[in-house]
């Protein structure tokens, strides 16, 4: 459980540290000395970003716990390391490219370059979809070579981890689809579209980071 605890320690230290800092030198019983904190919004940033960051904390907790379970389960005698299909490397490249293109699209959105949005969004969609399809094909390849989910625990974790990651990608695709729909159909004003793309980009980078950690772990164990 060390992995989960370590991750949790970081999150809680940040959150609780910030909370304590907010509260340390206050004398709440003294009236009308209004520190303008609430006026600014303590995290001077928009609510959707706060919600996304919270969601990322939840998702990180989820994956950290699976990794803790992975570490624990690995200790038991019947673990046979899985040799991952080479296809996964290609899929990884797809995901990296998707992140890069999303970042480019996001920059375009923030700078008001509307013409770049449609090709950018469509390209990220294509790249991400090829990642997901590639993952599925990798599953097929494993099945074909007799590496089933029940064959041994390393396999089970492989399918679980890649499946869970893909599910989160698909969730992101839903938001991507809405943003792309708005851009293509010409609805929505520039700032709300920019914000939506910004949030998607952060989410995509996050899932890329998660994938790199998962992939690294799967390769090395």
């Amino acid at each position: 459980m060390t992995i989960a605890l370590g991750f949790l320690a970081i999150i809680l230290a940040t959150l609780l540290g910030w909370l304590l800092k907010q509260s340390f030198n206050t004398q709440p019983w003294v009236a009308d000395v209004v520190s303008e904190t609430a006026h600014q919004g303590p995290l001077g940033t928009n609510s959707r970003l706060i919600a996304l960051l919270t969601l990322l904390a939840v998702v990180s907790s989820f994956f950290a716990l699976i990794l803790s379970a992975y570490a624990l389960r690995m200790e038991l005698g019947d673990w046979v390391p899985l040799s991952e299909p080479q296809l996964l490397w290609i899929n990884t490249v797809m995901l990296i490219l998707a992140s890069i293109v999303f970042q480019w699209t996001r920059n375009a959105a923030v700078n008001g370059q509307r013409s770049r949005l449609t090709p950018g969004l469509l390209l990220t969609g294509v790249l991400t979809t090829s990642f997901v399809i590639g993952q599925f094909v990798a599953w097929q390849q494993l099945q074909a070579s007799g590496q089933f989910i029940t064959s041994n625990p390393a396999n089970a974790f492989f399918y679980f981890l890649t499946g869970a990651h893909a599910v989160h990608i698909l969730g992101g695709m839903y938001v991507w689809a809405r943003a792309t729909g708005r851009v293509v159909l010409g609805k929505g004003d520039q700032s709300s579209i920019a914000r939506s793309i910004e949030l998607c980009t952060i989410y995509w980078h996050f899932l890329l980071l998660v994938w790199l950690v998962l992939f690294g772990l799967l390769l090395s164990t």
Binding site: L12, L20, A31, L72, F160
Partner: protein, 587 residues
């Protein structure tokens, strides 16, 4: 573009009021309506669980007298009672019910930051409840694995509900976690972003702090339950071996290789322990507000109370294996967790001292909410003290899986938070409904419930000391259990049925109040917190009318020396406070 706080761009935001009956009361995005939807659903399913506990007690008190209770369905009652009460009642009620109602009002906002997501979270919660209830009716019935769902038994034949019940249970939990995450995002974002002008974090009432930190705990801890649920589903459906060891079943080989049941326990309790604080922290916060309002006195040590809530929240993640002392783990492991468990008792105890000190020399009004709040202090001290016993490894070894544990967790989770729930409902009833309840009926309800729960759980500790095991359908004929233990069981059953029946008084009171109760004034308790200062009573959609409130002081300006009234609402500035001769100095 610089950030402008939600409260400061209130006039630019378009406010749409729902127009139709459906959008006002069914597909409602208003946090108050959603709160009531959550609460009614939670209470409904909680009554089902209460009925299940009555059946359990019938078997325990009068063994083999009832033909409709056999070992299979007894364990189904035990499991469903536990799971419903902990998750579908207490968590949903405190966070979905009270959290939704109180957070925007107490923070001075018009609604949650994401009203559509809020609405979705309720309907997904309802879906999870429906899936759970369906599990009663599938072939084989619901799971009988205990609310802790330990493998390998949970998914092996011999345990009730192994065909469908366990699948629906795990699915229902997964759906609940999705609902909870949606709600949790709302509560966290609203507390952080949507407070009105002047409402700093340290001016928020403790109710909000309790619910806020509980939400953070839930967001980080529920994934552990989700992970274990998915893994158990895979073990059951696909025959992986995350948890299932290499066992043989009645001479056959079910095909599992060497999984680890202990892995499940770690994952489950990593969720399970924060879960009990998710239930307790909102209760702690709410009871602080009940005590200070009805004692006309500021909560003693507000900052310490906030830090204690935060500390309890953080520490709650490193005590989980005190539920696993008897699992065969390394004794040093046990030593570590016993230490952290004792450490977490410190901020908890500080809170208890502060509650008592709040009452000390207070102008105590023994109204119904106050009775329940004081009842909480008694029962929580009681349950917390027995927790100290169980937190120490050596004493836990003989007491584990006995009725001592059952008595402990019912006192701290079943009795104290439920007393707070009742106190809170009585307290905020005038605000939510605009009507007043019947005081006499409320008092009867309190005394019968409070004394009744003592009658149930006090003797149960003794049974635990005797060694009477929990989760047993029948005690059989053993020497260490004298016949008097059976008499005690019968007494406990009679008390339990009595207390269960008493709750009818509460429902009669509420229904009478809705139908015929007197209208209440806008602020019958003369409370300082913002929810009592709304222009409409009960608050309308949008809560505050044209202007959001501006906060000038904390939530606990009760009996401030030098002022005419014994309370100053949060949104009253220093100039407007009706002052006496001289303004009070520091206190």
């Amino acid at each position: 573009m610089a950030y402008v706080a939600i409260a400061d761009r209130d006039h630019e935001i378009e406010h749409h009021d729902p127009q139709t009956f459906i959008t006002k009361y069914i597909w409602s995005q208003d946090h108050k309506v959603i709160a009531i939807q959550y609460s009614l659903t939670a209470i409904f399913v909680g009554l089902i669980a209460l009925g299940l506990s009555a059946m359990m007690r019938l078997q325990l008190g009068f063994p083999d007298q009832f033909s409709f209770i056999n070992p299979e369905n007894y364990y189904q009652f035990v499991t469903m009672h536990g799971m419903i009460m902990v998750i579908y009642l207490l968590t949903a009620l405190f966070l979905g019910g009270f959290g939704n109602y109180l957070i925007p009002l107490m923070c001075g906002s018009r609604d949650m930051v994401f009203p559509y997501l809020n609405m979705l979270s309720y309907w997904v919660y309802l879906l999870s409840v429906i899936i759970l209830v369906i599990s009663f009716f599938v072939p084989g019935g619901s799971t009988g694995a205990g609310w802790t769902l330990y493998p390998p038994q949970a998914i092996m034949p011999g345990t009730p509900g192994v065909d469908w019940g366990i699948l629906l249970m795990l699915l229902s939990l997964a759906v609940f976690i999705v609902a909870f995450t949606m709600g949790g995002l709302n509560y966290v974002t609203t507390v952080l972003q949507a407070r009105c002008r002047g409402m700093t974090l340290m001016r928020m009432p403790l109710s909000v702090w309790g619910i806020f930190i509980a939400t953070v705990l839930g967001l980080l801890a529920f994934p552990a339950l989700l992970v274990s649920a998915i893994m158990m589903l895979l073990d059951k459906l696909v025959h992986t071996s995350f948890f299932m060891p290499a066992i043989s079943l009645m001479g056959t080989d079910p095909g599992y290789t060497g999984g680890s049941p202990i892995l499940f326990q770690h994952l489950f309790w990593f969720f399970g322990h924060p879960e009990v604080y998710i239930v307790a922290l909102p209760a702690f916060g709410i009871v602080s507000d009940l005590l200070s309002t009805h004692a006309r006195k500021n909560i003693f040590g507000y900052r310490m109370m906030v830090w204690a809530i935060v500390a309890i929240g953080g520490l709650s993640f490193i005590v989980w294996a005190h539920h696993m002392y008897v699992s065969g783990m390394n004794p040093y492991f046990g030593f570590f967790f016993a230490t952290t468990t004792l450490i977490i008792a410190v901020p908890t105890a500080i809170k208890v001292y502060n509650w008592v000190l709040t009452l000390w020399e207070g102008n105590i009004h023994l109204r119904v909410p106050m009775l329940f709040a004081i009842g909480f202090i008694f029962t929580f001290i009681h349950g917390g003290l027995t927790g100290l016993f169980l937190g120490n490894v050596t004493i836990d070894l003989p007491l584990s899986d006995t009725y001592f544990v059952v008595a402990h967790f019912h006192m701290v989770m079943g009795v104290s938070p439920v007393l707070v729930v009742f106190g809170a409902i009585y307290h905020w009833w005038p605000k939510i409904t605009g009507k007043m309840y019947n005081e006499t009926l409320g008092r009867w309800h309190f005394w019968m419930t409070f004394l009744g729960t003592y009658a149930i759980y006090l003797p149960m500790h003794y049974l635990g000391f005797q060694g009477v095991p929990r989760r047993y359908f029948a005690m059989g004929n053993t020497e260490f259990m004298p016949d008097s233990a059976q008499d005690l069981n019968a007494w406990i059953t009679m008390s339990a049925l009595f207390v269960a029946a008493t709750q009818v008084l509460f429902f009669i009171n509420m229904i009478w109040s809705l139908a015929k109760g007197p209208k209440s004034e806008p602020n019958p308790w003369n409370a300082t917190t913002l929810e009592w200062q709304t222009p409409d009573h009960p608050p309308k959609h949008g809560n505050w009318g044209h202007e959001l409130p501006v906060v000038h002081r904390w939530a606990y300006d009760y009996s401030v020396p030098g002022y005419e009234d014994d309370f100053i609402p949060q949104n009253v500035s220093a100039d407007d406070a009706p002052a006496g001769r001289d303004h009070g100095g520091e206190h």
